[in-house]
Symmetry: D2
Subunit: 338 residues, 4 copies
């Protein structure tokens, strides 16, 4: 950490800051310039609350030099993490993986038909929500574990893996045998108790970026899971909230190369939530693969117009087939398999 003192800071003020830094467990190097004194803090500063130094008398600015995360940083595994699944599928390697399915599991017919088509088109994961977080208490809230069982059966019958959202610590145990990957939704990205609990599980976790989370905060949240010993974390960009209303969210495609630079974790793109509009899903999925995404998470439904939730952003099965063939070409163009 660096503390820059104001030009008119007194020696007493400087001494107080040095004392506070030492109290916080960091060593101090002092540079006395002609006009300004600079204090460099050396040592374990990742758990130090820097803002407390900002308000000390005579302080101009405080800057963090080292990353606040450790396990999630690129330096921890420079070669990159590849998350392996039971049937040989892996995320973070050469192959771009596709996860597809309805927003919510509605009934057996729906999920079985979807599973067949996802498999036929080359998808690896069946997705679908059993527990649905909805802004309105009057909206459809999901089928729960019985729904998840329907999806698990449909997936296994078609050689697919299962990814589904967990909303509550109490759901983990019942979900465990029915999912290959837990999904943490955007609204729970900073539900730290849930993250900590998922750190104890030995199944991969797909962690979605919060709607107003910085990439640094996303990495810090992944650190909660990893610090429990579960290193199989897959990050997911799904759009952030901005002033623009033409799309439901603004999909931050640049998060993909930024994550690749800062972290070793794989990153998935969700163009369905990222845009909220069916017709924007394909161009944004192509863009994500072109920018280096390791996987695509997309909503499809055999009867998209009548989907119980997220209908507007859900692909028809024909659109999904077409998207898959487009992604195949783009993946090849950036040196990936599909």
């Amino acid at each position: 950490m660096i503390v820059a003192m104001q030009e008119l800071a007194t020696e007493d003020q400087i001494d107080l800051v040095i004392e506070a830094m030492v109290d916080a467990g960091v060593g101090v190097h002092r540079t006395t310039g002609a006009t300004q004194t600079i204090l460099a803090g050396v040592g374990p500063t990742s758990s130090v609350d820097l803002t407390k130094f900002e308000v000390l008398p005579g302080v101009l600015h405080v800057h963090r030099i080292s990353s606040p995360y450790k396990l999630a940083g690129r330096g921890f595994r420079p070669e990159g993490t590849v998350v392996e699944f039971a049937n040989g599928v892996s995320i973070g390697g050469a192959r771009v993986v596709v996860m597809a399915g309805p927003c919510a599991i509605e009934n057996e017919v729906q999920i079985v038909e979807t599973a067949k088509r996802v498999k036929a088109a080359g998808g690896s994961f069946l997705r679908g929500g059993a527990f649905k977080p909805r802004s309105s208490p009057y909206a459809f809230q999901g089928l729960g574990i019985p729904g998840l069982q329907l999806m698990f059966d449909a997936a296994r019958a078609n050689g697919l893996l299962v990814v589904s959202e967990v909303m509550e610590i109490s759901q983990i145990e019942a979900m465990l045998p029915l999912v290959d990957c837990f999904q943490v939704g955007a609204r729970n990205m900073q539900n730290f108790n849930l993250l900590r609990e998922l750190g104890q599980v030995r199944k991969p976790v797909l962690l979605k970026r919060g709607i107003a989370a910085t990439i640094e905060e996303l990495l810090l949240s992944s650190e909660y899971i990893m610090s429990g010993g579960n290193y199989d974390v897959i990050l997911c960009e799904r759009g952030i909230r901005t002033y623009e209303t033409a799309t439901r969210n603004t999909m931050d495609i640049s998060a993909i190369p930024v994550v690749k630079k800062l972290s070793h974790l794989p990153i998935v793109a969700d163009p369905s939530h990222g845009t909220g509009h069916r017709e924007m899903v394909a161009p944004m999925a192509r863009a994500a693969v072109a920018a280096g995404a390791d996987a695509i998470l997309v909503e499809v439904h055999p009867n998209a117009d009548k989907a119980a939730s997220d209908a507007a952003q859900t692909l028809y099965l024909d659109q999904f087939d077409k998207l898959m063939s487009e992604l195949r070409v783009i993946a090849a163009a950036v040196g990936r398999t599909f």
Copy 2:
């Protein structure tokens, strides 16, 4: 709801939209203009997912006409809600109430000294976190229930009420005898399972606006609590995330008159989280009361520089005393008692 068709929409497209509206349980009034057809949907539309109509062929725009919330709307209680507490204190009435205390409960000396000073200066509530949501897993996480017991004792010894944050459904039962008001933090504003559970509790809930939540989403979240039968909800503006970095968040003072217009629920302002800087707390607290806030929630600490968390935004006790006398004058200027 209103569906505006595109100028070139065909009769078949219009029929399909009408059919979809009827399927969703709404009656349809059709206006055929010279260039454009407009379909007005009448009936119970608050649980209808409007976005699904937006992507039907031939549709230009879909607008919601009625509010998506019912119990939280001004019309439900035009006279406004006044939340009453045990010792005669109420929020939402003529008197502007002050809630103050440390970010986190640290030890007995700290919380007892704070309680005395908060009481002496005219505060009504002691605040303090027993469970702390922290972005980094390496930061201080709170003392838990034993800490809450310390705060409860200190509050009662000084005639103060207690407000403290609940992070998890599993904490509710143990917290129940030790708090007068549950606080739901910004990160949990859309933790719908938690909100639903708090709807079953018979103690008031202070619900903080999420860091990127719209006011409409805040009201929808309050609806989750109210739909369980707990109508004692107090809203809280605590700053939203914007591009500006001079303050930790951008405190949206205009949320106060907007909430007063749209809803009957009381609203509290938290200038500590709203700004993140100790020296900005007093001007923003004054501004909030001038704009009509029903209460102020503020962080104070007997040794603010060494607070275990949020030190930068925590007032010294002397600053708190000064702020209280300023608020007294502003409250009078807007026709409130203090």
Copy 3:
């Protein structure tokens, strides 16, 4: 336009609104529902200020039904606009075009070397600023017309076209013989006097999206130019301002398919300003082409580290060569030539 009245609106209030609508020149269709009255306004509403109806007594919401722009809308030219340049180059057709060059023209050696390399790698336009808008009055402000002459000569010697930013009406005349395309920077997207003047010019205009502009506002600004008779407008996405600080701006790739849907105008992507980091330029350029961009605008410099401005986001010439070969493959993958 649609005016939805409040449930308790009186007949007098409804009459007043109808009168105000008629005053504004729009015809009114009234739908009287069981609980709510809706007034549909028909006629030329694109110049009507809707917000004035929002504050009339008894009004709940006002919605615009038709687009506020006319000439920029997709319906005006459903087949799409192709902007043609002197030497057979066109933007908006099958071929993806590349515009490259330094942020600022610095001297003859720099611009000549850049021109050669841009041409050799397959670029069509040489870009470079002669007038530089800088946030600080103490930063380099550009060489002016003599610099533009250097760039024009270097471009022509290498068979390239010239695009350069105009900041002021007074610069148009001198720039006219030296550019093939005027660029309007993000800061001037709503400099309406400048836009109006460029509507009188008979050279194409590349209009950058403002740093906080909605896509609708971008289209409205293009309307200023087109309403003067100059229909050769090329839009440009160059990143918007959000809370994320990992990149200089957040490049809104979804603006590309949104513009393609709403408008007939071609759209260019500028990944240099969109990200602000050299290493993010290539992935975001690939993403933009994959999403359907008609051209790429990118900063390159023979000595990128020492560029007088925007050094951090400027490609080395070798990086540019590599990017060009990547874009060639992506363009083919989406069915475009390059």
Copy 4:
């Protein structure tokens, strides 16, 4: 400036950075820590482009230590600037000043009636636009200089000062005898040529914050004017663009104490543009004065519903009278005169 090197940075990389710093004219102090090297740059760094160091090999972060502005910084005039006007009115002193009038000057009757009422209620300035920047080319664009003459006459007849927006360098000369204060609108906050020209004028300039401008950028823009020798700059907070749609903009009241801390310049609040809704204007004006604003700029119109522009946010004259009496009390409560 501070350059923090990566942990694994080589001596060659460090040498290259030192060389680049020296090239940029700054002296270098080196701190070699156990794990990390830190380079502190000393000297005139306010015109140095720091981002160019960020992309040098081996660099982790670069931080600016000193402010990028000089003349606008608090240190330049610690006692604060008071801008004096002809008739004894001043902005930045003990008295809170009110500037009021219509969005646009429409005709003589309108402006004369407004002037009388503004004066009677205690206002000091008559405001009104002669040149109107409108997002749509089809909206009312203002009366120009003849309109300004009408306003000047009405103001002088009532002992009021005149403030009006300048949009173009070419308008300055004709406006000069007819205004006491030039206003630069939000859209022109970074129209640097215009700012530079206003630096040559010897009349005060009211500079509005851009819709997505940081406070630092606002201060840098004021520096453009001051560096020309015109130190009479008055800043204005008028709302910033966020994701919230309940208000037209989000009025950043905290900008008031932030500006007071960072700069010596006076600051005005514009709650009309800040909220866009007539009923929000009074609470936000009170909030601004409570937070320390030096003046209030507000839109009023004798026939607010029929105002040619901004009708929704324009006060009726009766509302204005009421607001004035409220502000009088709030001003007294914060120790100001009115």
